[in-house]
C-alpha cells in the first residue's frame, strides 16, 4: 500500500489525453489536469460528450479495451501513476485504494448473485479475512449506509431491492475497504429527488468519517451546489474553468460557465399569466387506473391478482392557452395519467372530456381519431420517438396523410412548421440520426403541431436533454403555445422546469393528487408535507443561479 504524504493530493491528473481507437481516431480528452486533496470533493461538471465519464474510467483503469486509449499524460493515485501501472497493480488498487459508484443502480449489480456474495468478493479479493469476519464486516458496512435489516439484505438478490437501496449497497461496496479515492459517476441521476438527497448526504457523511477524496461527476448544477468543494467545468474534452464552488458559481470567468449557469431554471415560480376566458379543452373527472397482475396460477384458480391502483380519482380542468404541470416522483402515476388522456392506456373508470366529449368509453382507432387529433403528445426520448428509417418530412406528414390531406400540401405545411420550430426547411429530407437530440425534439414538436391540436401532452419532454438545450426547447414550447393558444399538459419530475413553465401545478404521490393549485402558490407556499419534502430535496435549492449567490431567506 502506498502511504500518502501530508499535503500530497490523493489524485493528481496531468495533461491527460484519451483518443478513440480505429482508423480515424478522435480525441476525447484533450489534455486535462486537476488535483483532489484528501477529504475534498471535486465535481466534474459538463454536458453530454464533455468527457467527464471517460476521465473517471481512466483513473480506474477501466477504459473499454479496443475502443479508447490513453495517448498522453498521467493520473497519479497517491503519487503512483495509474496510466503506466501494470494491469495486476491497478487490479489490486481497484476496490481497495480507489472505488467507484456508477449511475445506474438498477444495472450495476449482478442480477443472478446475492448481494452478500457480491459484497464478500471484495473482502476475498483484497484481504485475508476469514469467512465469518467477512460476513460481519459486510453486515456492518450495510448498517453504516443505513440499510434496514442488513442480514436480510445480505441474502437478497438485487431485484428485491429498490433503486435507492441498491445505490446504498453500491456505496457500501465502494467504501468497504476505506479507499483513499471514491469516484461517483452521476450516482443520483437515476434516482428520485428525495432519494437523491439522502444518497448525497450519505456520501458526504462517510467521506467526512473516512477522510475520503471524492471525484464526483454530474451534469446537474444543483447537485454541485450541494456537494462540491471545488468544481471543474468540462466541455468537449477540456477543462474550461476550475475553482472553488463559490468562485465558479458566483464569479464565473468563462462565458461557457455563465451560459451553463444561466440555463438552470429557477425554483422561484414565474409570474402567472393573465387568463381572459375560461375555455376547457381537456377535463378529467375522477379518472382511475387499476393495473392487475395475475400470475398464471392465480388465473387458473380464478384467484384475484395483485392489483395496483396507479391512478386514484384524478380530476382536473385544462383551459386553452394554459399550462398544467403534473409533478411527482417515479411511481406517482403522472405518466399513467398522461397515457390515459391519450388513450394509450384505457382508464378503469372516470371520464375524459376532450372539447366536451367523453372519450373514455370510445373503442378503436376510428372512434378515437378526432380526439387524438385534438390531443397530441411529445415523448421523453427523441431518439426513440422518431422512426429512424423515415425522413423528418415523412414523419411529419404521417398524421396528415392519415387524415386524407394531399401529400404535396402536407409537405408544404411541414416545411413551414419546421421553420416555426427553428429548423431549416430542407431538414424535411434528412433522417433523424442527422439531427442532435434537441433538434429531434423540435421535429417531434412540429409533428404534434401538424395535427393542429388543442392540447399538447409533454411527458418529460426535456428530461433527456442537456440544460442549455432544455432551455431552448422550453422557450420554443412557450412560443408556440402563445402563438396558437395551446393548452399544455406538462409531466415532469423536475420542479425547476415546472416552476418556469406552469400556470398550475398538480403534485402526485402514489397515484393520488396531494396538492393542486396555481404554480406560484404550490411551489412557494406548499401546504402538503410531500410537496414540502419534494421542494426541500430539490438540489441546489438555496442557490440563486441567476444572481450567483446563496439564498439566505427561503423564497
Amino acid at each position: 500500500m502506498t502511504a500518502s504524504q501530508p499535503g500530497q493530493p490523493v489524485l493528481s491528473v496531468r495533461d491527460l489525453k484519451v483518443s478513440t481507437m480505429g482508423r480515424r481516431p478522435a480525441e476525447i480528452l484533450k489534455g486535462i489536469s486537476f488535483d483532489i486533496a484528501p477529504g475534498e470533493t471535486l465535481c466534474l461538471v459538463g454536458e453530454s460528450g464533455s468527457g467527464k465519464s471517460v476521465t473517471s474510467l481512466v483513473t480506474m483503469d477501466l477504459l473499454p479495451r479496443g475502443e479508447l486509449q490513453v495517448t498522453g499524460g498521467t493520473a497519479a493515485l497517491n503519487g503512483e501513476d495509474i496510466v503506466s501501472a501494470s494491469p495486476a497493480r491497478t487490479k489490486a488498487l481497484r476496490g481497495a485504494e480507489m472505488a467507484m459508484i456508477f449511475q445506474e443502480p438498477m444495472t450495476a449489480l449482478n442480477p443472478v448473485l446475492t448481494i452478500g456474495l457480491q459484497m464478500d468478493e471484495i473482502y476475498r479479493a483484497h484481504t485475508k479475512m476469514r469467512g465469518p469476519d467477512r460476513r460481519s464486516a459486510a453486515l456492518a458496512a450495510f448498517d453504516s449506509v443505513s440499510l434496514p435489516d442488513p442480514a436480510r439484505i445480505y441474502d437478497s438478490y438485487p431485484h428485491q431491492l429498490s433503486g435507492g437501496q441498491r445505490q446504498r449497497v453500491m456505496i457500501a461496496m465502494a467504501l468497504a475497504l476505506k479507499p483513499k479515492l471514491l469516484i461517483a459517476d452521476e450516482p443520483t441521476t437515476a434516482l428520485d429527488v428525495t432519494t437523491q438527497k439522502q444518497i448525497l448526504q450519505l456520501i458526504r457523511k462517510l467521506q467526512e468519517e473516512q477522510n475520503t477524496a471524492v471525484l464526483f461527476i454530474t451534469h446537474d448544477m444543483g447537485v454541485v451546489v450541494d456537494i462540491a468543494d471545488r468544481v471543474c467545468v468540462m466541455r468537449h474534452g477540456e477543462v474550461v474553468e476550475t475553482g472553488t464552488t463559490g468562485e465558479v458559481l458566483s464569479q464565473p470567468r468563462e462565458q461557457y460557465t455563465r451560459d451553463l449557469l444561466a440555463a438552470v431554471p429557477s425554483l422561484t415560480p414565474r409570474r402567472a399569466r393573465a387568463q381572459e376566458r375560461h375555455e376547457h379543452v381537456l377535463e378529467l373527472l375522477e379518472v382511475e387506473k387499476v393495473f392487475e397482475f395475475r400470475s398464471f396460477l392465480s388465473k387458473l384458480l380464478r384467484r384475484p391478482g395483485h392489483r395496483v391502483r396507479a391512478v386514484k380519482d384524478v380530476s382536473f380542468r385544462l383551459d386553452r392557452g394554459r399550462t398544467l404541470g403534473i409533478v411527482g416522483e417515479s411511481g406517482s402515476g403522472k405518466s399513467t395519467v398522461a397515457r390515459c388522456v391519450l388513450r394509450l392506456e384505457d382508464p378503469t373508470s372516470g371520464a375524459i372530456l376532450v372539447n366536451g366529449h367523453d372519450i373514455a368509453p370510445l373503442e378503436g382507432q376510428t372512434a378515437l381519431a378526432p380526439a387524438r387529433r385534438a390531443v397530441q403528445m411529445i415523448f421523453q426520448d427523441p431518439n426513440r420517438s422518431l422512426n429512424p428509417r423515415l425522413t423528418a418530412g415523412d414523419s411529419l406528414i404521417e398524421g396528415a396523410l392519415n387524415a386524407g390531406e394531399p401529400r404535396a400540401e402536407a409537405l408544404a405545411r411541414a416545411g413551414e412548421l419546421l421553420e416555426v420550430v427553428g429548423l431549416p426547411r430542407d431538414a424535411l429530407t434528412r433522417y433523424p440520426h442527422q439531427f442532435s437530440g434537441g433538434q429531434r425534439q423540435r421535429i417531434a414538436i412540429a409533428r404534434a403541431l401538424m395535427m393542429s391540436p388543442d392540447v399538447i401532452v409533454a411527458d418529460e419532454a426535456v428530461s433527456a436533454l442537456d440544460v442549455s438545450v432544455q432551455a431552448q426547447v422550453l422557450d420554443l414550447l412557450a412560443e408556440v403555445q402563445a402563438r396558437r393558444n395551446l393548452a399544455i399538459l406538462f409531466i415532469t419530475h423536475d420542479l425547476r422546469v415546472a416552476a418556469q413553465i406552469c400556470d398550475d401545478v398538480m403534485v402526485m404521490q402514489r397515484g393520488e393528487v396531494v396538492e393542486f393549485g396555481p404554480a406560484g402558490q404550490v411551489l412557494s407556499d406548499p401546504q402538503h408535507d410531500y410537496t414540502r419534502a419534494l421542494l426541500e430535496a430539490a438540489p441546489g435549492r438555496d442557490w440563486d443561479f441567476a444572481k450567483g449567490r446563496r439564498i439566505t431567506e427561503p423564497a
Binding site: L344, Q365, R372, F379, N387, P388, E398, G399
Partner: protein, 283 residues
C-alpha cells in the same frame, strides 16, 4: 454504426474484408459452373463407360471416374445445379411464408399464442425426419424436395420476424404513429416491416446454406432427388461404397459442397455485420 443509414449505403460504405471477397469469388465461380455446366463439362454427366470404371484422376478424367465409369468432374459440375436451385427455392419460400406469419404474430396478440405454439410444434420435429417422411411418401422430385426442406425452416423465419416486430413495436415512434391515427396495417407496413428486412436478408443466406446441406444429406441417405440427376449428395452416396478403394469419390464432391456452403456462410456473416450490427457475432 447507425442503423438508420440506407441498406445500400451500409453495404458499400467500407471495402469488405478479403475473406468476404474470396467467398464471393468462390460462390460466383460455383454459380457460373452451374449455369454453364453443359459447356464446361468434359462428358455428359450420365454417360456410362464400362471400360473406364473407378479410374484415378488423369488428363481426360480430371477427378477420375466412378463405379459406372462416369466422369466425376462432369458430375460434380452438374451437381451444383440442383444444390443452388434447392437453396434458392427453400430460402425464398421460407421467407415468403414466414414473413407475413411473423408480422401478424408480432402485432396481433391473440393470433400470436396459437401460431407460435404451432411453430414450436413444427420445430419439435427434426427437419431431416420430416423431410425424409415427406419425400418418402411422395415422388421425390425437385419441388417435393424443396417443400420438404422448406417446411422445417419456416418457424425460424417466423420467430425472427416476430422478435423484430415485438422489439420495434415497443419503440415510442410506433405509439406516436398510433396517436397520429395510423391504421394497424399501415403501421405494420411502414414502421415494422422495414426493420425486419436486414435480418431477413441475413437469415435468408443461412437458410440457403442449410438447405443445400439438407438436400445433400437427403441424397446421401438415398431419399433425395433420384440418381438419374447427379447431385453432390448422391454422388457421395454412390462413392461411399468404394470409399476404401478411392476416397476421392467422396472427397471431391465434399470439397466443392463444403466450399460452396462456407462461402455462403461467410457472406452471410459479412452481411450481418454490415446490415445488422446489433446482431454481430450471433449465430
Amino acid at each position: 454504426m447507425s442503423q438508420t443509414q440506407s441498406l445500400r449505403k451500409r453495404l458499400i460504405e467500407t471495402p469488405p474484408h478479403w475473406t468476404t471477397m474470396l467467398a464471393l469469388a468462390v460462390l460466383l465461380a460455383i454459380v457460373a459452373m452451374a449455369l454453364f455446366a453443359p459447356r464446361i463439362a468434359n462428358f455428359p454427366p450420365t454417360e456410362l463407360n464400362a471400360m473406364m470404371r473407378l479410374k484415378p484422376a488423369d488428363g481426360t478424367y480430371w477427378m477420375g471416374t466412378d463405379s459406372f465409369g462416369r466422369d466425376l468432374y462432369s458430375r460434380v459440375i452438374h451437381g451444383a445445379r440442383v444444390s443452388l436451385l434447392v437453396g434458392a427455392g427453400v430460402a425464398l419460400g421460407a421467407i415468403l411464408i414466414g414473413l407475413p406469419l411473423g408480422l401478424l404474430a408480432g402485432w396481433f396478440r391473440g393470433l400470436d399464442a396459437v401460431l407460435m405454439r404451432a411453430m414450436d410444434g413444427l420445430m419439435a420435429i427434426p427437419g431431416i425426419l420430416l423431410a425424409i417422411a415427406i419425400v418418402a411418401l411422395t415422388k421425390a422430385g425437385l419441388t417435393t424436395v424443396i417443400i420438404a426442406i422448406m417446411l422445417p425452416e419456416i418457424p425460424q423465419v417466423v420467430r425472427l420476424v416476430r422478435a423484430r416486430v415485438l422489439a420495434t413495436r415497443s419503440e415510442t415512434f410506433v405509439e406516436a404513429a398510433v396517436l397520429l391515427g395510423t391504421s394497424p396495417m399501415r403501421i405494420i407496413w411502414r414502421h415494422l416491416l422495414p426493420s425486419t428486412i436486414a435480418p431477413l436478408i441475413v437469415q435468408g443466406t443461412y437458410v440457403y446454406a442449410s438447405a443445400i446441406l439438407t438436400e445433400a444429406a437427403l441424397s446421401f441417405l438415398g431419399v433425395g432427388i433420384g440418381t438419374e440427376t447427379p447431385t453432390w449428395g448422391n454422388i457421395m452416396a454412390e462413392g461411399r461404397l468404394y470409399f476404401a478403394l478411392n476416397p476421392w469419390l467422396v472427397y471431391w464432391p465434399a470439397i466443392v459442397l463444403s466450399l460452396c456452403i462456407l462461402s455462403i456462410n461467410l457472406l452471410g456473416d459479412a452481411l450481418r455485420d454490415r446490415l445488422d450490427p446489433k446482431m454481430k457475432g450471433r449465430s
